[in-house]
Symmetry: C2
DNA sequence: TTAAACTTTCAATATTTTCTGAAAATTATG
DNA sequence: CATAATTTTCAGAAAATATTGAAAGTTTAA
């Protein structure tokens, strides 16, 4: 496999896999493209390489910027904007963890905290069982949340050294 | 908030949040409903409670069974099938982790292993940078994979004791 | 200024995903 | 068996999501 083929495969496959990650295909492909390109790219470059419209490219670049995975750069003498992706894989992972925590975990915790308000004393077995479920899920999500927070603060080698030594004997 | 209200809120909210989890609404609601119900439920019961069609109920129940989160039970003297959900939250979490690992992580690892085949010696700086990205992402996903495997084997309190003591001082 | 270069927006369209409901298949019962 | 009860399938409808492309908006520089 040549480098060219490998890069194309990477972009294509990243786009397909993204559907499993709840991320839209163009966004994943733009990200893949920017991660593997040496040079900053213009909107035009991206549109051409991925065969997508200007609107689509623009919107997904904006999302990637909001996710903190891509940033704009200005080239001296150039009027248009260029884009580059963060290349440090640990930083990328932390950024994604942060976003996913906010989207997937925080709303659950918020819901569970509301639900703990029920007056469980008034109800029978049924109420107790429901309350236990809520409390259990709440405890679990809080723990996951703490784990995520720890990841966000951690240095890569420190984190994996600890985790793997202690869990995977 | 009464128990009744709380249960309805839980089902409704679980359905909304599920979109962030890449899970379809009905599936999440059926799961929520079964998790909080004391009694096993028939397809008919579920259709009525959630206002969904027979086909939809049937298909999502099958998916939940395939995910290992729900099982069929047979009642003596009853012809039709009834369904119950696993109630142990740690078991549920492990099951979900297992599925997500298979859907989100394993395909990435497979891709990266293919991509490591490129003949990097032939290429310049560009090839080196690409290779580094592949290797870095590969290492990270393998580590995540090991973490997931550890979770799958672990006992809940043991797992959180270790993780939280070591990461969150 | 103003006009060209470039970016953003958004209504219309296309695509993908989910849901319905009736028909087909399966299973149990007399 | 035959028939009634129940489950499964699946083509088409509906809903949700993603994409286009052209118009509107913004910025730069002559």
């Amino acid at each position: 496999m040549t480098l060219f083929e490998a890069k194309n495969l990477f972009i294509e496959a990243w786009g397909s896999i993204s559907s499993q990650w709840g991320i839209n295909k163009t966004m994943a492909q733009v990200h893949a493209l920017l991660m593997i390109s040496m040079e900053e790219m213009s909107t035009e470059d991206i549109m051409e390489k991925l065969s997508v419209s200007r609107g689509n490219a623009n919107m997904n670049l904006r999302d990637l910027i909001n996710w903190g995975l891509v940033r704009k750069v200005f080239k001296p003498g150039e009027r248009r904007e260029f884009f580059v992706a963060e290349k440090d894989v640990w930083k990328i992972a932390k950024q994604i963890a942060k976003i996913r925590k906010a989207k997937e975990l925080d709303p659950v915790i918020k819901l569970l905290e509301q639900l703990k308000d029920i007056d469980v004393t008034q109800e029978g077995e049924d109420g107790k069982q429901f309350y236990k479920l809520i409390v259990d899920v709440h405890r679990l999500t809080l723990n996951l949340d703490k784990l995520m927070e720890a990841i966000l603060k951690a240095d890569e080698s420190w984190f994996w050294d600890r985790v793997l030594k202690l869990l995977v004997r």
